[in-house]
């Protein structure tokens, strides 16, 4: 048993485990990039990595700082355009997408635009960027974010990116692609999915050392807590070694 892993290493490992070989994933900078690279170096060597600025299938030599960084198309199969990759998403070629957020609600809708009122912001955040596109188009979106009562909220200050909107069938009624939507949420406390009937967030597993009480105490909305809740598996020393190879400077993983 290895107990000296960092929280970021655990998140990267859990996120990587969700990705399947032979599928495609839209990644951003930071943790999603690490997770996708870890998946490629372990169970999913044929994972296709796509960047929203146009990089397709790169062999990333060192961690990119930006999703348009030259590292995102280093030895890639194509250095294309936003139109190319976003159209691929719209047409159904992209399986997974990673998203972060400042706020999430029970249906997996996300806010990255503003805290406070839109026309009188307390905090102005960057806006959608590619998040709305990824959340609209990818078959399965994976949300990685910090969890506390200010971030897990009943009502968002602004709905930037669609989750399941207000429940079952809402995405399709709005005109979003059928069968797409949030798949998993990963926080520093646990791993969640969405109940098939209500489309509300449901606890799937807690991280080692985290209790269900911790989970509930850090959400302002009621989470679905099933009778059986698993525990996530911590990264092995071998996985941690690979993570250090991927991020030698500690840009994302930290020192």
């Amino acid at each position: 048993m290895n107990e000296d892993y960092t929280p970021t290493e655990l998140l990267a490992y859990v996120a990587a485990g969700l990705l399947e070989d032979g599928k495609s994933v839209f990644v951003g900078t930071g943790l999603p990039m690490i997770a996708a690279m870890l998946a490629q170096r372990t169970h999913a060597p044929n994972l296709l990595i796509i960047f929203e600025a146009g990089g397709i299938g790169p062999q990333v030599p060192v961690l990119p700082i930006s999703v348009g960084d030259s590292r995102t198309f280093y030895r890639a199969v194509a250095a294309s355009s936003m139109h190319e990759v976003m159209s691929a998403g719209q047409a159904g070629y992209v399986d997974y997408g990673f998203l972060g957020a400042a706020q999430i609600d029970p249906y997996g809708n996300l806010n990255t635009t503003v805290i406070g009122e839109w026309d009188h912001p307390l905090v102005r955040l960057p806006g959608s960027g590619g998040a709305n596109d990824i959340g609209s188009f990818c078959w399965r979106t994976i949300i990685v974010m910090r969890q506390d009562k200010r971030r897990f909220v009943e009502h968002l200050d602004f709905l930037t990116t669609p989750g399941y909107l207000d429940g079952p069938g809402a995405r399709e009624r709005a005109g979003l692609p059928t069968g797409s939507g949030p798949y998993r949420v990963i926080t520093q406390l646990g791993l969640y999915d969405f109940d098939e009937d209500s489309k509300r967030m449901r606890l799937l597993a807690t991280h080692p050392g985290v209790t269900v009480d911790d989970i509930c105490a850090n959400s302002a909305f009621e989470l679905i807590i099933p009778d059986q809740v698993g525990t996530t598996e911590p990264p092995s020393p071998q996985v941690r070694r690979i993570l250090r190879e991927i991020d030698p400077t500690g840009m994302v993983i930290g020192k």
Partner: protein
């Protein structure tokens, strides 16, 4: 046809397609003409106060900083910015008081480096107004509609969200599938500033690496100012015509500006100057600091060549070339703080 929803964001940069055709017919020359000029002349001529402007590249990738500094140097005012993945470009323009309105796909952030203190302060205090929201794909498709000479383009983004409610899009029932579909209005910026790897004196441009949305944006622009790492002979363009991303008739001005994207990244040429971006992020935490930055790097220098000397000249630029080619390790103030 029933309109199911109308976004309440301000519609910027839209023209009736026939009006735009007439404008193109009257103002865009099809003649193969030498368009070389200076940045001072190009900015003075094509960027009036109040114009709607957009930058090529991707926020801090291949951004024409040479043109942006010249806009600041000439004290342009009341500009509206197309914030299609805007990072360093919009941050300095807002901080300098040149841009006071912005349509936002992505702005006020520096990706892994954190949020932009200066432009966030401007928006939260009301000095800069967000006129509409949109997504990255949505903005690029607004430019695609313009490039095609269409009034709008149908897409499946933003549906069901506040992003759409605060955008300039409309939702209708698609007459083919019967499903709701978002119509994104064309966007024709008055002026686009774009930095490329090489072009000839007529403006036939080649770009190495990802095009991002510059194919669409160059064609959506009413006026297109090109800064280039180098001006090459026409023969180089004609020997490999399949490499031309932007043909000359779209271009209004050509300015040779080596390292013209510094401190942003120029693919295969030079990496981000993280020390310089770090200095900006540190200074721009206060209005006084931002003013100090502009005084040092923009107002007190004559042109971009003098600026390049100020940031460390040949030695510095050689280091950035090495980082881009993975021959030297990256140094970054924000990376040091993480350690």
């Amino acid at each position: 046809m029933d309109i199911l929803q109308t976004g309440q964001g301000e519609l910027i940069g839209w023209h009736d397609p026939d009006e735009h055709r007439a404008w193109v017919a009257a103002h865009k020359s099809r003649a193969l003409e030498d368009k070389r000029t200076t940045l001072r002349e190009a900015i003075a001529r094509y960027v009036p106060d109040g114009a709607i402007i957009a930058c090529g590249g991707f926020g801090h990738i291949r951004v024409s900083m040479a043109a942006i500094y010249e806009i600041i140097r000439q004290h342009k005012r009341d500009l509206t910015f197309c914030g299609k993945t805007a990072v360093h470009d919009s941050d300095v323009l807002i901080a300098a008081g040149a841009v006071c309105r912005i349509e936002v796909a992505y702005a006020f952030g520096h990706e892994l480096r954190g949020l932009s203190p200066a432009s966030r302060r401007a928006v939260e205090s009301g000095r800069c107004q967000v006129v509409a929201e949109i997504s990255n794909a949505g903005y690029q498709w607004r430019f695609l509609a313009a490039a095609m000479g269409l009034p709008f383009i149908p897409t499946r983004v933003m549906l069901g969200t506040d992003t759409l409610a605060h955008s300039s899009a409309k939702v209708i029932e698609d007459p083919f599938s019967g499903k709701p579909i978002a119509l994104l209005p064309a966007c024709y910026p008055d002026v686009v500033l774009m930095h490329v790897h090489r072009c000839d004196k007529y403006g036939n441009c080649q770009v190495d690496g990802i095009a991002v949305e510059d194919f669409e944006l160059a064609r959506a622009a009413r006026r297109l100012i090109i800064t280039t790492e180098e001006i090459v002979d026409e023969e180089m363009i004609r020997s490999q015509p399949w490499r031309t991303l932007i043909p000359y008739y779209l271009v209004d001005a050509v300015i040779e500006a080596p390292y013209g994207a510094h401190p942003t990244l120029m693919p295969d040429r030079y990496y981000f100057d993280e020390d310089h971006i770090g200095e900006w992020l540190r200074l721009s935490k206060t209005d006084e600091g931002a003013a100090e930055y502009f005084e040092r790097y923009v107002y007190s220098v004559e042109d971009f060549a003098e600026y390049l000397e100020l940031i460390g000249g040949e030695e510095r630029l050689e280091y950035l070339r090495q980082v881009e080619h993975l021959e030297a390790p990256l140094r970054a103030p924000w990376l040091e703080e993480k350690k």
